[in-house]
């Protein structure tokens, strides 16, 4: 039962990363792809109806984590207090920027919100990546299963870790590059020339960064935590996840496929989840980790949860399908038409 919920939480988080990932990434490359206010408006239109629903996956994932693994939720949120609060501030600023920008057309108002939107969108993936890095590296859990991490100590992976060290920063940068590429591929799909072409070439350049960082982070991860290999050795079927990530990465580079980029993100995330299982919050050397067994809620709650959670998920997928269909097609106007209109 715990393992099932572990998979469901991972599924929700993967959905969040893929869905909110493209609108975060689109924000991170906002100024690189939108050369003037009108183009930037088009860029925002590509995510306008979706971003709020995408962000709900974070809340749904958080809520699910809360009731299925209350100990994990409590420990991790207390321990990562400062970075989480900063994530909240960034989410607030970003949401406000998207919703307030189009309220008024003004030469000061619009670019100010563009800057806030871009800055917050670029910072959030770094935080999320660093969070994932912290999970892989492990945290100093005490006997109450509590910990508190400062933002940084000496930037080394040491006995006194901070949230930021060279490894977690590296993972953060990988997350930024991967989501920026993901966002650029989304924009390519949802816009006309010249933005679409610009997005395609930016995605190619970002692809190089993603590929290089993926290689470096993979090597570094096994160096820091050799135990990550154990599950792959014992259950070789798990290699489908890294294979999915690699395949996605290859296709994202050659075919400029948004779907492939989704596959890459899902593959990477599942690889991490698979390799740490059954731990949900690995500990620094010499500390006891949180596992699916000691962090889960009692059995009755998990069983009762299944009854309403699964239909809820099906409904959520239904709404999302409905919304993406309704707002299918591209934002803005084809270059030729808009020229002739302006005539």
């Amino acid at each position: 039962m715990e393992t099932l919920w572990f998979c469901l939480v991972a599924l929700t988080i993967a959905a969040y990363v893929i869905l909110d990932g493209f609108d975060l990434g689109a924000g991170a490359v906002h100024f690189l792809l939108g050369k003037n206010s009108e183009e930037r408006e088009t860029l925002l239109e590509t995510i306008g109806p979706f971003w709020d629903g995408n962000e709900v996956w974070l809340l749904a994932g958080g809520g699910t984590l809360y009731f299925a693994f209350p100990t994990l939720y409590a420990s991790a949120f207390e321990g990562f207090y400062l970075p989480l609060m900063m994530v909240l501030w960034l989410l607030i600023l970003r949401g406000i920027a998207i919703e307030f920008r189009h309220q008024m057309h003004d030469v000061l108002w619009t670019p100010a919100w563009d800057a806030v939107f871009c800055g917050a969108s670029a910072a959030l993936p770094v935080f999320f990546g660093a969070a994932l890095g912290n999970v892989v590296r492990g945290v100093p859990l005490d006997s109450n299963r509590e910990f508190f991490l400062p933002l940084w100590t000496n930037f080394r992976v040491s006995a006194e870790p901070g949230v930021l060290d060279w490894y977690t920063i590296l993972v953060g940068l990988l997350a930024l590059a991967a989501l920026a590429m993901h966002g650029a591929l989304w924009i390519r799909l949802k816009t006309y020339e010249p933005i679409a072409g610009r997005a395609a070439s930016l995605a190619s350049r970002l692809w190089v960064c993603v590929a290089a960082l993926t290689a470096i982070v993979t090597v570094a991860s096994f160096q820091i935590r050799p135990a990550l290999l154990r599950n792959f050795v014992e259950h070789p079927w798990g290699f489908v996840f890294p294979a999915l990530a690699l395949g996605g990465l290859a296709l994202a580079g050659t075919r400029k496929s948004f779907l492939a980029s989704c596959g890459y993100l899902a593959g990477m995330l599942c690889s991490v989840v698979f390799s740490v299982y059954p731990e949900v919050l690995p500990a620094s050397p010499g500390h006891e980790p949180l596992t699916v067994h000691n962090a889960a809620a009692p059995d009755y709650g998990l069983r009762a949860g299944l009854v309403w959670w699964i239909p809820g998920l099906i409904l959520a997928i239904g709404y999302a399908t409905f919304l993406y269909r309704r707002f299918s097609g591209k934002a803005g106007k084809p270059a030729a038409t808009s020229n002739s209109l302006r005539g």
């Binding site: 629903g53 939720y73 207090y81 406000i96 309220q103 009762a304 999302a320 919304l323």
Partner: protein
């Protein structure tokens, strides 16, 4: 330790109080927008559609504020109240996750269509979107109230061998009688805020003689709902809620009323200042026997006073609790008077020319916010010193590893950020109201 606890409490109190300024409007307004869209669909009169579109724009600004200030609430259960979350997450996590799965997805999907889809979908689907947003936001309210109601009156759980709180019956938890009493009272309060808001803007347009056609429409829509919801605030919803508090939290009731000496036929204290040290109410203005009557339905019922309760079980901020309760009840009574007289004038065809009523309606706008906030303070201060009533003390629930310095850092951060948001929000609202429904595109 004491300061860290106080800061964590202030942290949550500040962010939740600020957050609830927005949902209390949007939940009620979702109902009013749905009514306008329904009237448009039935009559085909485009004025209803324009009016709805105008309110959708104001709704959108408020909804965005509600969303971004709402995310920190779910996070803070873990960040600032981790001991509480560890103990109770298996129970209240159920309703918080249900809120995500059942209402946020619904709400966000249909809000996208309501805000951006007017040209993309048919009138019927646009109407459906307004229904979706209404249902989503009211469901969201339900799950949050169910969570809070469990903290007020925990049911459906048992205490495990190591003191952990184990969910035993999901249905008992969801069917908690406290939930339904509190839900009815809270949602009615939200309708009061929204209908008073609509009336206030209507009065503004009439007094200004701008967009007068819409001013009259807003008042025709808003005044009956304002009147009905204001009355329902007192009876039946307030009455049920009050009796429930009297039965299950007699200490809270005594503290709300500044009532120290147990007795029968206890008067209602209308005014007065509680002196907790001397255990008395200064300068009291009393109505005989009424507290007994409204708490237990009998003129001579006995009402327990604070003197019969150990001091450590008293709510820790009795003056604030007392004033919150009296502000809530006082304002609620004024709303009934104003809305009923406006309703009578509307039926007699005199409201639109009556400056004596339009001015108070215009100025009424902030007061339902104050009354709703005060109501929540009554509920949450009255629950103290318990975090989960009778099960876990507030002092046992906070994140002990997060120091006072870190808590103050983020509290100040929120205060600064929310100050900026407030200015932007007021600016945009003022601009939208000044533009009016005729300019809305």
């Amino acid at each position: 330790m004491e300061t860290a606890l106080s800061l964590h409490r202030l942290h949550f109190a500040f962010t939740i109080t600020y957050h609830y300024l927005f949902p209390q409007l949007t939940m009620g307004l979702a109902l009013l927008i749905f009514l306008l869209k329904t009237m448009f669909l039935r009559t085909g009169n485009p004025a209803y559609d324009r009016a709805a579109q105008f309110w959708v724009r104001l709704f959108g600004i408020n909804f965005a504020m509600g969303v971004v200030t709402g995310i920190p609430m779910e996070f803070q259960f873990g960040t600032n109240w981790s001991r509480f979350s560890k103990a109770a997450g298996g129970v209240i996590g159920q309703t918080l996750a249900m809120e995500g799965m059942y209402s946020f997805f619904l709400e966000s999907t249909f809000l996208g269509i309501l805000l951006y889809g007017r040209e993309r979908v048919s009138a019927r689907i646009h109407w459906l979107a307004s229904l979706g947003v209404f249902l989503g936001s009211w469901l969201s309210g339900f799950f949050i109230i169910a969570t809070d109601a469990w903290m007020q009156h925990p049911v459906g759980h048992r205490i495990g061998p190591n003191g952990e709180i184990i969910l035993e019956s999901l249905s008992a938890f969801l069917l908690n009688p406290w939930t339904y009493a509190q839900y009815a009272h809270t949602m009615t309060g939200s309708v009061v805020t929204a209908s008073a808001f609509v009336c206030s803007i209507g009065a503004f347009y009439l007094l200004r003689d701008r967009h007068a056609e819409y001013g009259r429409l807003f008042l025709r829509l808003g005044v009956p709902i304002f009147a009905l919801s204001s009355v329902m605030m007192i009876f039946p919803t307030g009455d049920i809620q009050g009796k429930m508090v009297a039965q299950n939290q007699p200490v809270a009731l005594a503290a709300m009323e500044g009532h120290f000496e147990t007795g029968s036929g206890v008067p209602l204290n209308v005014l007065g200042q509680p002196d907790v040290e001397k255990r008395r109410l200064d300068n009291p203005l009393r109505i005989p026997n009424v507290l007994s009557l409204i708490s237990y339905g009998r003129w001579n019922a006995e009402v327990k006073g604070l003197n019969d309760v150990p001091r450590e079980l008293w709510p820790d901020n009795i003056p604030l609790l007392y004033y919150s309760f009296h502000i809530m009840v006082g304002l609620g009574t004024l709303f009934v008077a104003l809305s009923l007289s406006s309703f009578v004038a509307l039926r007699m065809g005199r409201l639109f020319n009556s400056k004596a009523l339009l001015w108070p309606l215009l100025l009424a706008l902030p007061f339902p916010y104050i009354a709703n906030t005060a109501g929540w303070m009554v509920a949450e201060l009255g629950r103290q010193p318990w975090l989960i009533y009778g099960v876990m003390k507030t002092s046992e629930g906070f994140s002990s590893r997060v120091s006072a310095g870190n808590a103050m850092f983020t509290l100040l951060g929120f205060m600064g950020l929310y100050t900026v948001l407030t200015m932007l929000f007021l600016f945009l609202m003022q601009r939208e109201i000044a533009l009016g429904p005729e300019e809305t595109h």
